[in-house]
């Protein structure tokens, strides 16, 4: 079972590496969205500092949604998804490996860039640390929930828009607690409660999303 997990994980990472441009595209999208806000709302430092966590979180959410089209759709088109569905191990193992690879490719780069984005908005050191940890816990939840939507919309026309409509409402709690954690830290309340709630969301998503995704995949392939 572990072998299969590692094989699928390695496969998806190799495939992502051979299509580096896709990965950079969603990363550049994240950076651009974050940078557009100061241009739009004006250069007032106090205002920017207040809205920075929300901006970084919304940009991370959008970039993560943008990358969902690469999760199952290419495998569906070339027929390898059928082969994955017929492996002699539980489908949830494969789904977990694919989600993990998806997060490593789309979530991790955003996470590593986030301190730089925080610095750009003049966030303090501990606010940046909280932003980093909230993204560390929160972005895997985005990948997990996103996988359900990606599996459900497989093979449909206009899947890209449809997946956003399905997924974005479900990710609202992640956004609220993620961005809220940083605001709570800067206002002196402490971020622990928000981060713990995010952790709870992550635990629930790990427990439920792979099963839902596996069931959705079986329906979509039929």
């Amino acid at each position: 079972m572990l072998n299969l997990f590692l094989d699928v994980l390695k496969r998806d990472l190799v495939l992502a590496w051979r299509r580096k441009s896709d990965v950079f595209a969603s990363l550049c999208f994240f950076i651009l969205v974050v940078m557009l806000f100061p241009l739009g709302v004006g250069p007032e430092p106090a205002l920017l500092k207040a809205i920075a966590p929300g901006i970084v979180w919304v940009a991370a959410l959008l970039a993560s949604t943008l990358a969902l089209g690469r999760l199952f759709a290419p495998d569906y088109i070339d027929g390898t998804l059928e082969q994955l569905l017929l492996t002699p191990e539980p489908l949830t193992v494969i789904v977990m490996a694919k989600i993990k690879a998806h997060w490593l490719v789309s979530g991790l780069p955003i996470l590593l860039l986030s301190p730089l984005m925080g610095l750009q908005f003049g966030l303090s050191g501990d606010a940046i640390a909280v932003l980093f940890f909230s993204l560390l816990i929160g972005t895997p939840v985005l990948s997990l929930i996103g996988a359900i939507g990606a599996a459900l919309t497989l093979g449909l026309r206009g899947a890209g828009v449809l997946v956003s409509l399905l997924i974005l409402p479900l990710t609202i709690p992640v956004l609220i607690f993620g961005a809220g954690a940083v605001s709570a830290q800067t206002s002196g309340l402490g971020a622990a409660a928000h981060l713990e709630l995010l952790g709870g969301l992550l635990a629930a998503a790990i427990a439920l999303a792979p099963w839902a995704t596996a069931a959705a995949l079986r329906i979509s392939v039929e």
Binding site: V14, L15, D78, G79, E82, Q83, L86, V221
Partner: protein, 209 residues
Amino acid sequence: MTLKAQQLACTRGERALFLALDLELRPGDALRVAGKNGAGKTSLLRILSGLSTPNAGTVNWDGENISRIREQYNRQLTYLGHLPGIKDDLTAGENVMLAVKLSGNRIERKAAALALEQVGLGAQVNLPARVLSQGQKKRVALARLPFCSATPLWILDEPFVALDQDAVHWLTETISQHLSHDGMLAYSTHQEINLRAQRNLTLHLQTPC
């Protein structure tokens, strides 16, 4: 080891592709599914592989419904659909290795190269599948078969399409060898193929009006 389908029915929209279909496969049997385009050959093979569920009826492996023993059934099964199931960004060799690994078997890099050599792709082992022709991709997909002898049931959808004569000969030999070791085969084809099976069965699908 028997695959038994009872009273299978498959409908597409309003149209029934087949109704009340029965079939049984035993070790050494080769079942050819024949019929016109759109008669439901692929639908039937997908139902037998467990990818689709029939509108009515059951598919049983050793008396157990395959939807209930999915992982166990997959361990007995090699399925090749009409899509080659090949990753364009991986090399031919990587594709073969991956396909065999995912089916739960172990394989060495050298063995994969050897298998590709046997299907006439010795020079293309390290080329990305993207640059291969349709027929070559099909051969990459088929190169896994010699490693799948541990799975008794092979379900192959149009395996002979797009192959040249040498490859057809190789595939016929590979399948016949599998059948002689108590393998089972369900396949669809428009060509006349002489397989050495204990029983050569043919199922003609005719769309009921």
